[in-house]
């Protein structure tokens, strides 16, 4: 293994160049973020992920953001374990009735200023699951959403572009 580690000095990092922020996302956010909040946060955002009923596809791609290719933390984002430490709630899945209360409590536990990002087709409007007795709807039906990142699931590049738009507007 030592050999593999030394090789990494020769071959350089796998991390790919930064993407442009998502244009549509920027426009969506321009309304949402105020100047005072920007001053407070600097260029760093703490993210708390909440699965409100997802099939776990979105989680896999959110996980991928932390791998060597995307390296999310170089942009000043990092995932935190408690909503009390978070600036951003990244919510996946249609909101199941069974998770509605838990999502609300997580939202209320997150200090202001805060942003909610609805990740994936289901989080936007309930997706394929919207019609059921067990689903409340999209994230916006339960807590106010500032940014949506479409896709089933959105790939890591789409997730990055969306988050960079958030960072640019928020800082």
């Amino acid at each position: 293994m030592r050999k593999a580690l030394f090789e990494s000095f020769i071959y350089g990092p796998l991390t790919e160049p930064a993407l442009k922020p998502d244009e549509a996302g920027l426009a969506e956010l321009a309304k949402a973020v105020n100047r005072a909040a920007r001053a407070k946060l600097g260029r760093s955002l703490s993210i708390r992920h909440v699965d409100a009923g997802s099939c776990n596809g979105c989680e896999l791609e959110i996980h991928a953001l932390s791998n060597a290719f995307y390296d999310l933390e170089r942009f000043g984002f990092h995932f935190v374990a408690s909503p009390r430490h978070a600036d951003v709630l990244m919510v996946t899945g249609p909101v199941s009735k069974n998770m509605r209360e838990a999502l609300l409590r997580t939202y209320n536990a997150t200090p202001d200023p805060k942003w909610v990002v609805a990740v994936g087709a289901c989080a936007i409007d309930g997706g394929l699951f919207a019609a059921g007795y067990a689903v409340e709807g999209g994230v916006n039906d339960v807590v106010p959403v500032d940014l949506t990142i479409p896709g089933c699931p959105p790939n890591p590049k789409a997730l990055l572009a969306g988050l960079l738009a958030l960072l640019q507007t928020a800082s």
Partner: protein, 502 residues
């Protein structure tokens, strides 16, 4: 001897394939419970279809499967769980969804209905919801015990579920799971859906196993309609299934080591996982290969340069993976955490019919690809790795060995990939027909049973994830371990919440 030889039954359903479905009354149902309790067969599934309850059984040597159907009287049926504990959660789920009661059931608490729905028994005789009684967790009594409630929202990027630990200092005395938070009503959405829509829903039952679910749904549909997918489609399905297995095993091996604070393995395995997903995207246009398998065949042929991408992936994995395995094996601090942690007893694995690495790490030699077997695996050579230790380490090693087997399988698939069509015509039958599919996902066997109406729509579809028979064993595996080892044990199981909650 066939399974049904020992079970008295009135008749066999005429349009049920590929295995038989028998209509039983009390004596047949009880005879089946006797066989389960005596360990002569394995419970493969138990689901409602009001006013009936169906039970799928698998023979001891895995080579025969049968479905038994019991028609409830006054919405009641004799409890299977009363004598065979693996059925407990299944019976609780049937009661919540259908309002069918298991008589003499050992546990009558709700399971999927957490008290937030507007209706009770949404798949049976609907009734307005009532205010639920507080959920009573099972007691654990003794001096110095304390409870640690965790979830449903967890600290990491994972699915929601509640764990109630009772601990004595560092040591876990009892863990009780409370699941159902991501229940989306998939089985109710399936009822009346077109085959296209139903296949999409099946592929979103558990995102990490989307290929396996779409595969099992296609198998069940094709069995019901008596359609055969073309050979090229069948081989490409297996290619997708093995890519999915590779990606998940890489992710799991890394994540288990990460839960023992060994982040180097996590980073390196993450690279292999990403490369696998990129190869999948280059071949089939989607990183997780969602909606790529459809009833009758596959939605898209492999890209012209797809095989080259897969070859490049195999070369890279064969270069890097052995070094990672060596690193895992030679790092004493890591082994200190994984060896002898979270042991699952072989008896439990057999009793619960636990599939996947959970079963195979505790000596249960079941892999649905091998026996009962399905195309194209019947024509391919591969080993089913088995270990006996049953600890976290054994579950890691099963994954390591399965990665090696998947690489060899992909070689064979690419070599033998037939030319020709990728989609057979799907035509609705004029009468009702039923089919069953059983596919080996990365975490274990996925069972899908369905009944199609005469117009090509789904009338009833039941999806049973391997997690149903693995989650309860996690409760047993953690007993006597320290709280800090729970993430390690949990990740080594990597059960699906969404696949279980539906």
């Amino acid at each position: 001897m066939a399974l049904l030889d020992n079970i008295p039954h009135r008749e066999k359903a005429k349009q049920h394939r590929p295995w038989p479905r028998a209509i039983v009354t009390d004596d047949g149902w009880r005879q089946a419970i006797d066989q389960l309790a005596a360990g002569r067969c394995t419970l493969l599934g138990l689901w409602g279809d009001a006013p009936d309850v169906h039970m799928a059984l698998m023979a001891e040597n895995f080579d025969d499967i049968a479905v038994l159907s019991y028609t409830c009287k006054d919405a009641q049926y004799p409890s299977v769980a009363a004598r065979h504990p693996p059925a407990i959660r299944l019976e609780r789920a049937i009661r919540d969804l259908f309002g069918l009661d298991a008589v003499d059931a050992p546990d009558t608490r709700t399971w999927l209905d957490l008290g937030f729905w507007d209706v009770r028994h949404p798949l049976g005789k609907k009734q307005p919801a009532q205010k639920p009684a507080p959920y009573a967790f099972l007691p654990a009594e003794g001096e110095g015990l304390h409870q640690i409630p965790v979830g449903p929202v967890h600290a990491g990027i994972i699915e929601p579920g509640h764990f109630r630990f009772t601990a004595n200092g560092e040591h876990v005395v009892r863990l009780e799971q409370r699941l159902g938070y991501v229940h989306k009503g998939i089985e109710s959405l399936m009822a009346g859906a077109t085959l296209d829509d139903a296949a999409k829903l099946a592929g979103r039952t558990s995102g990490d196993s989307t290929v396996a679910y779409a595969f099992a749904f296609a198998q069940a549909t094709e069995a019901a309609l008596q359609v055969k997918a073309p050979p090229r489609a069948v081989y490409l399905r297996a290619l997708m299934a093995e890519l999915e297995r590779l990606a998940n095993h890489f992710g799991d091996i890394g994540a288990i080591c990460n839960d023992a604070s060994f982040s180097l393995m996590h980073a390196q395995c993450g690279i292999l996982r990403e490369r696998t997903l990129r190869a999948a995207e280059a071949c089939f246009g989607h990183r997780l290969m969602m909606d790529a398998i459809v009833p009758g065949g596959i939605a898209r042929d492999i890209a012209a340069d797809g095989a080259a991408h897969v070859q490049a992936l195999l070369t890279e994995v064969r270069r890097m993976f052995p070094r990672l395995v060596e690193l895992y094996d030679n790092t004493a601090s890591l082994q200190d955490r994984t060896v002898n942690t979270g042991i699952v007893k072989p008896d439990f694995v057999r009793q619960f019919g636990a599939g996947g690495y959970v079963g195979r790490a505790s000596g249960r030699a079941f892999d649905a690809r091998r026996v009962p077997g399905y195309a194209p695996y019947i024509d391919l050579r591969f080993d089913v790795p088995i270990l006996d230790a049953g600890d976290v380490n054994a579950r890691v090693w099963i994954r390591i060995r399965e990665v090696e087997q998947s690489l060899a399988l992909i070689d064979q698939i690419l070599d033998a990939l037939p030319n020709g069509k990728i989609q057979a015509a799907i035509e609705a039958k004029s009468k009702t027909c039923e089919g069953l599919g059983l596919v080996e996902a990365f975490r274990g066997d996925v069972l899908i049973w369905l009944r199609l109406d005469g117009k090509g729509r789904v009338e009833r579809c039941h999806l049973r994830d391997a997690s149903w028979f693995q989650w309860p064993l996690l409760e047993a595996a953690i007993e006597g371990n320290i709280v800090a080892d729970f993430p390690l044990c949990n990740k080594s199981f990597n059960c699906s919440y969404s696949g279980h909650d539906l």
